[in-house]
């Protein structure tokens, strides 16, 4: 088994789990999900499952210890006078903080060693070479278990939520192991919170026919995005990014645009399969995308793209940093000095910088990923800084900010900035990304489009027509969703003949126009590698 798009998953694993889930008494359904999740993990990562088990043990033990400390504190608080309570709280707070810090450091430490030691080693070696030091270090290389970046963040969120007393720790090790390893969210997320998932996973929900149908529809939609669009674009994108020196700036820009499209279709298509698979079990899994390409600003884009990651960074990095004593003090000082707009922005920017640095690192161990994070930080910070100026300019030139034309301009502008970011994200290293960007700026030409070179790089005219049709379908559905309408509910009210015809058309569209079989190499789950 390699992904949610494999025959093994769609034709064997998912149907088998669904059948057994329904045959199981409600009380034991979570146990079946746990077995299925561990089997799923084992089939992909084999013995690397030990990392997952270790992370689960660490989280389990620390969370229970935290609860023990909290109950000791509560018992004491009941007995003591009001005047003594503050000191007790501080004492136990420190105790908890030490424990939770140790837990988080171990979890992040394992992730860092596995994911970044090679990157750090290469950079240290480069410094030695630059300084002409005759030292050669052995650069370590580890095989990563699938979804380590996702389950680590889930584990950290669980620990911090227990620490903050938002949730009670799970006493049943098996149930916690299920939260950590749930097969639908382990590969590419979404990064779920314990409070959102625990009841759903453990109560053994009754499967409903309508939910089942909705789930199947969603899976089909995801399959179309992945197999018809993302996989068909693969050869073209691979060729452009691997051999960018052979193409002019126009083709590189087009490659970056198609890569952005591919990434969205692959990732959101996977999320459709994940959420759809969840729906057939009557689970409600967090949406990870909300029409991101209708965003008017980069900040908004990140509220609509990989939503669960953004929320995680907001809750566990941005807010704690912003609310920390040093930054609070800085805000009060800066507010007096720079006013109500730039004052809070100063301390907020420090927290924002940490968020985007972490975002870059989370995506991968390469300078291009760090650049990707800092690029978005710069754009958001820049947007905040020039906001007052842009407001004044708009009122001076009497630009109607609520007009459709202005919104359209904002959407296109944001889209272009996103595509530039994705160019660096996909490039074979930061240097390649810079070269590609320079080529777009200095060697831009449309010759490859007029002399039909564009149709000779892994995709011919017919391939492009199919991609355009499929993308337009997604675009229309996105507009309907953006307007707050539910496409599926709308379809469900149509007569059965029309409804079924639509389903048959979609299935045949995927079967006939899907990029699978001889001559195609499917895209690996892009986010699974992060």
């Amino acid at each position: 088994m390699s992904s949610y798009f494999s025959i093994e998953y769609l034709a064997l694993f998912l149907p088998a789990v669904f059948i057994f889930y329904n045959l199981m008494p409600k009380k034991y359904r979570w146990l079946l999900l746990l077995l299925a999740s561990y089997l799923f993990f084992w089939l992909i990562s084999g013995k690397l499952i030990l990392y997952l088990i270790s992370a689960t043990c660490i989280v389990y033990i620390i969370a229970l210890h935290l609860e023990k400390i909290q109950s000791q504190r509560n018992q004491l608080l009941e007995k003591k006078e009001r005047s003594e309570r503050k000191a007790i709280r501080i004492f136990y707070q420190k105790k908890q903080r030490k424990l939770v810090t140790a837990g988080v450091l171990i979890l992040i430490g394992i992730l860092a060693v596995l994911k970044y030691s090679g990157f750090i080693g290469i950079n240290i070696q480069s410094i030695f070479s630059l300084l002409h030091l005759p030292i050669t270090i052995q650069i370590p290389s580890f095989v990563l278990p699938i979804g380590i970046s996702f389950y680590t963040l889930q584990a950290v969120s669980y620990l911090l939520d227990v620490y903050r007393e938002k949730i009670k720790p799970e006493w049943n090790f098996g149930k916690l192991a299920l939260y950590m390893s749930f097969f639908l969210t382990i590969i590419e997320g979404p990064i779920c919170r314990y409070s959102d998932m625990s009841i759903q996973l453990y109560e053994g929900r009754k499967v409903s026919w309508n939910q089942f149908l909705y789930g199947m529809q969603r899976i089909l939609y995801g399959l179309m995005k992945k197999i018809v669009i993302a996989d068909r674009l693969n050869l073209f994108i691979k060729t452009i990014f691997h051999d960018y020196n052979s193409y002019d700036g126009g083709m590189i820009a087009f490659g970056a645009l198609l890569y952005t499209c591919q990434l969205y279709m692959e990732f959101s298509g996977t999320m459709d399969i994940v959420i759809g698979s969840g729906e057939i079990f009557s689970f409600k899994i967090l949406e990870n995308f909300r029409q991101p390409f209708f965003s008017k600003t980069i900040s908004e884009f990140w509220q609509r793209w990989h939503i669960s990651l953004g929320l995680w960074f907001k809750d566990y990095i941005f807010y704690p940093l912003s609310m920390s004593d040093p930054l609070k003090k800085m805000t009060s000082w800066a507010r007096k000095k720079f006013g109500n707009h730039y004052g809070p922005l100063m301390s907020g920017s420090i927290a924002l910088f940490c968020v985007w640095l972490a975002n870059g690192f989370w995506h991968g161990s390469g300078w291009n990923y760090i650049f990707f994070g800092l690029y978005h930080f710069t754009l958001i910070l820049g947007g905040n800084l020039i906001e007052p100026v842009s407001n004044r300019l708009c009122s001076y030139f009497k630009i109607k900010r609520e007009s459709i034309l202005y919104h359209f301009f904002q959407i296109v502008r944001t889209g272009i900035l996103v595509v530039i970011g994705e160019l660096f994200f996909r490039a074979q290293g930061l240097r390649a990304g810079i070269h590609m960007f320079i080529k777009i700026c200095t060697n831009f030409s449309l010759v490859s489009f007029t002399d039909s070179t564009v149709f000779s790089i892994g995709m011919d005219r017919q391939d492009f027509i199919i991609v355009v049709i499929a993308v337009m379908t997604v675009f229309v559905i996105s507009i309907i969703k953006e307007k707050g309408l539910s496409v599926r509910e709308h379809i469900s009210k149509e007569p059965i003949v029309l409804r079924w015809s639509l389903y048959y058309m979609l299935i045949l569209f995927i079967v006939v126009f899907g990029a699978y079989g001889t001559g195609y190499v499917p895209v690996d789950p892009i986010y699974a590698n992060f």
């Binding site: 494999s6 025959i7 093994e8 034709a11 064997l12 026919w209 011919d460 017919q462 079924w500 389903y503 048959y504 299935i507 045949l508 079967v511 006939v512 126009f513 899907g514 699978y516 079989g517 001889t518 001559g519």
Partner: protein, 316 residues
């Protein structure tokens, strides 16, 4: 309520199968040529042969189409043979070719080149193959780019014949020094359970169609060794099959590994294939009493093919 859902699901699935079936009919190649989108055209050239004219059917991976030349066999003995071998052929594909061939042919001998027995595959591949066989749309879906008017409602008519009868001609020489690749050992190379089952099924199918199913290992210093020989011997004993390892017949088939291979012992070239085919032709004729068709009227196309085969060799 539940009955309603079951009936609906059944009706929906029936409709879906009809859609897939119809789409399969449209995309399925209407002739066995590349222009009509046929895959593995050389192996599928057998579809263009007259009914019941093939005496020996050869199945297997690239070893089969590199080592056995039906035209040499024809010229030597007048036995008609066809190689339905394809690159990296798995046994489920061998089974597909066998079933397909048996629809129009009544071979007396079916040879399975044994290298394919050591090509392992996952059960999922079998499922995929099942889907592909049931609904060729999954295999031929890419034909949407080159769909022809005849694909809508036209009948299937296979007209193309391969003059090489599935053999892949190569006169490239890239020799090897490997000589002692068949040094004796008691080791036994394991055969996967899936492949064992396929061999068993193929043997059974051949028996039902009055064909003798035999196993043949053609010479290859890269792919063959004594442990594999032992493994096939055990398999042949278990299913009571005839097994011939041509790698051991260094006196009968004088393979010169410096000249008779196109890729350092991995595959034979034309010169090696000529030696193997010549030996095999006489061996099969004597052992299984196959008749000589060279003077028969209905086999004249084979003589014509042989003339063209000679031209190809002369031109290269």
């Amino acid at each position: 309520m539940k009955v309603k859902y079951i009936v609906r699901s059944f009706l929906f699935m029936t409709g879906l199968l009809i859609c897939l079936g119809t789409a399969s009919i449209v995309v399925f190649p209407k002739n066995n040529t590349m222009e009509f989108g046929m895959r593995d055209v050389n192996a599928n050239g057998i579809l263009g042969e007259n009914d019941n004219t093939i005496d020996v059917l050869v199945l297997g991976d690239s070893e089969s189409y590199s080592s056995i030349s039906p035209m040499t066999i024809w010229n030597e003995t007048g036995i008609t043979s066809y190689v339905c071998g394809t690159s990296a052929q798995q046994l489920y594909e061998s089974m597909n070719f066998l079933k397909q061939a048996l629809q129009n042919q009544k071979p007396k001998i079916v040879i399975l080149e044994t290298n394919a027995i050591y090509r392992n595959f996952s059960p999922v591949k079998m499922i995929e193959n099942g889907f592909n066989q049931l609904f060729p749309i999954f295999q031929y879906h890419n034909r949407w780019k080159s769909i022809l008017p005849v694909d809508f409602g036209g009948s299937i008519e296979y007209t193309w014949r391969d003059d090489l009868k599935g053999f892949k001609y190569s006169n490239k020489i890239e020799g090897t020094n490997a000589q002692d690749y068949m040094s004796k050992t008691d080791k036994i190379a394991e055969i996967s359970e899936l492949n064992r089952q396929y061999v068993k099924e193929m043997a059974k199918l051949c028996e039902e169609n009055d064909a003798k199913f035999i196993l043949v290992s053609t010479p290859s210093t890269v792919n063959w060794n004594y442990a594999r020989h032992n493994g096939i011997c055990l398999l042949a004993d278990e299913y009571e099959l005839d097994y011939y390892d041509l790698n051991l017949l260094s006196k009968e088939i004088l393979i010169d590994w410096s000249q008779d291979t196109r890729d350092k012992g991995d595959h034979l070239n034309y010169y090696g294939a000529f030696k193997v085919s010549k030996y095999l032709a006489h061996f099969l004729k004597e052992k299984y009493a196959l008749s000589d068709h060279r003077q028969e009227k209905e086999y004249q196309s084979w003589n014509e093919s042989y003339q063209r085969y000679q031209t190809i060799i002369a031109q290269n």
